[in-house]
Symmetry: C2
Subunit: 259 residues, 2 copies
């Protein structure tokens, strides 16, 4: 299933030149936080691209073959190859990590709408710290559920090993049950309530009338919850009602405008 | 010592009309987080003002008399009168809470440098969440030390009562000792290391070449630590060395440019 690794390497040439950039995403939907948000960034900027789907167990070899830098994981000095990765044939650049990619796109295509408005790099970095500090309760639900959605044995093994090592617990222990599930889900609600409290200034989006990286991150999180836990889940029914329907509305708005 | 309450009330008229706005600050230096930062905001904007010092035990009566809104404290739905308060005689406006005051000043004086650049209100709100999430270890050192600096019995009683109620512990229990002090101080260092990691984009300040609210908040925190723990303290000696001297340099820069 490592469909790209044979033709990759540092001399990678995309097969769909007419479609512009190659965006490499994990093959299973919403496997990892923030991985679909690059699609939004590219659509907002109106840049042509095509998506290539990579099995997650193939990511270490793929990252090494395509010659991208490893990404810092979780602030503990751990580095690993991660998706999304973007390859831009017009500059020959290959980059991993969503914020770095967004900044690259802003710099390289200055005539397109900015994802990280000028002067907001540092504020966006603080924003990401604030989001991360609140998101661990979401992991407790979405990570084990993601494992259930994987079918390839190699992917299941890779996912279990990397996540159990990162969280320092088995996937089964990570999953809250009974009262713990109720308490942890209440923390997810609280996290979203804090996220909602940040929207100031009266615009539709974080910075006014057009979406910026912060909007993309939060929308990506809602997308991830809906697709991982499922449209029919009681949890998604909850999320739809939170914060006066803000999250469902934001996601619907993005899907309508940028899909 | 409630020197202003007799002449205050909703019909407050400042005594120093020629000096522009009245900025009301707590009488003892650096008593509370973020309370001196309004001075920086007013200096950055070049707006004339004078400072009036209020004993903290007089704040509830002062706030009520001057007719300002109460401020949300700690996100638990608790409201109280807090300093700084600003009174602007040119519009008859009286406001409490540093971020609201900064936004008021930007709106009312559009020809002065913006403290909250257009489109960054939401990002600044997220920034404040991120800062707060990391600052409780600082409280453990600075709050008990602040108590030591108070001399008026009424102020000491007010400070003890309000802080012990807020933290749910006595000031003595709040103060870390022995190994706990070492561990808690390491967390203060970690908090500043995270704050330092936010500076992106290569400018001197958060948003480039001129300071914004985020810079003012972080500089205010350094100012508060230095003045509360003391220039001669071992802690200040530590802070000076952290993050390649960033914090001492930032504070020195602010004090040189805006004092």
């Amino acid at each position: 299933m490592i469909s790209h690794s044979t033709s990759m390497g540092r001399h990678y040439r995309p097969t769909h030149l007419s479609l512009g950039m190659s965006l490499f995403c994990p093959r299973f939907p919403s496997a990892l936080l923030n991985k679909d948000l690059l699609r939004y960034c590219l659509k907002i900027k109106g840049l042509p691209f095509h998506t290539e789907w990579i099995n997650i167990s193939a990511v270490p070899r793929f990252g090494s073959d395509i010659g991208v830098e490893k990404t810092n994981i979780g602030g503990q000095g751990i580095k690993a190859y991660t998706l999304p990765i973007i390859h831009d044939p017009s500059t020959g650049t290959t980059i991993a990590e969503s914020f770095k990619i967004a900044q690259y796109l802003d710099k390289t295509y200055p005539d397109t709408p900015r994802i990280v408005p000028t002067g907001t790099e540092s504020l966006h970095t603080a924003f990401r710290t604030a989001v991360s500090a609140l998101e661990s309760p979401i992991y407790a639900f979405a990570i084990p559920k993601t494992f259930e959605l994987l079918s390839e044995p190699a992917d299941r093994e890779y996912f279990r090993n990397t996540r159990e090592s990162f969280f320092g617990t088995t996937l089964e222990e990570l999953t809250p049950t009974g009262d713990a599930a109720t308490i942890t889900w209440a923390k997810v609600k609280e996290a979203f309530s804090t996220y909602a409290s940040w929207y100031e200034g009266g615009g539709k989006y974080f910075a006014g009338e057009s979406p910026c990286f912060a909007d993309v991150v939060l929308t990506g999180k809602v997308f991830w919850i809906r697709n991982t836990l499922g449209k029919e889940s009681t949890q998604w029914e909850d999320v739809r009602k939170w914060d006066d329907g803000k999250w469902e509305k934001l996601l619907a708005d993005f899907e309508q405008t940028y899909n």
